[in-house]
Symmetry: C2
Subunit: 117 residues, 2 copies
Amino acid sequence: MSDKVVLAEKLALFSDHYAPRTVAEFNGHDIMVVKVEGPYHWHVHEDTDDFFLVLKVQLDIELRDRTVSLGPGELFVVPKGVEHRPVAREEVHLLLIEPTGTPNSGDPATAAPRRVV
Amino acid sequence: MSDKVVLAEKLALFSDHYAPRTVAEFNGHDIMVVKVEGPYHWHVHEDTDDFFLVLKVQLDIELRDRTVSLGPGELFVVPKGVEHRPVAREEVHLLLIEPTGTPNSGDPATAAPRRVV
């Protein structure tokens, strides 16, 4: 059985952006940490909700009709099928949850590879 | 579509222990906050993993062969079928994730009712 996950220790292992690291598995989902900075691109997950919990600083999740601004200790679930674009004005640390194998970009051709730390 | 969830605001809405509040839904799961204090009882979820993220103070998750001690920003996934007992030496705040309808006690007869805040 895996051990506990210290999120800060996992985040200290890498520095690249928009490249999630899987830190635990849960009911067929990957629990991931990620560092993001700058705007991502508009994308959609047709088959899954998308869980964001901000650990550090501030993330804007742009939706087509509004922007959800999240600070530390704030979470948002983008429902499946809803277009969204994360925008980070400085480096942001996040906890993400998606089904294992979900392309982070919404498209397997452009998705970051699955990396377990 | 639901709005963002500010965990501290949700936690300020109640004071009872071992009575999770659902704050968001995600792929058939409830995202919950809970306050716990003292020992819970030994139980098992035969059909689901059990996600714990400590938001405040320190939680011991006793397993039959060891104890996992979690501080803030630390998480642990109890695999399905594994007996466990949470023990909180003072009031602890947690983020929990379980499939909607999962009895928190492992037994529908003793489970806390589902409450959405």
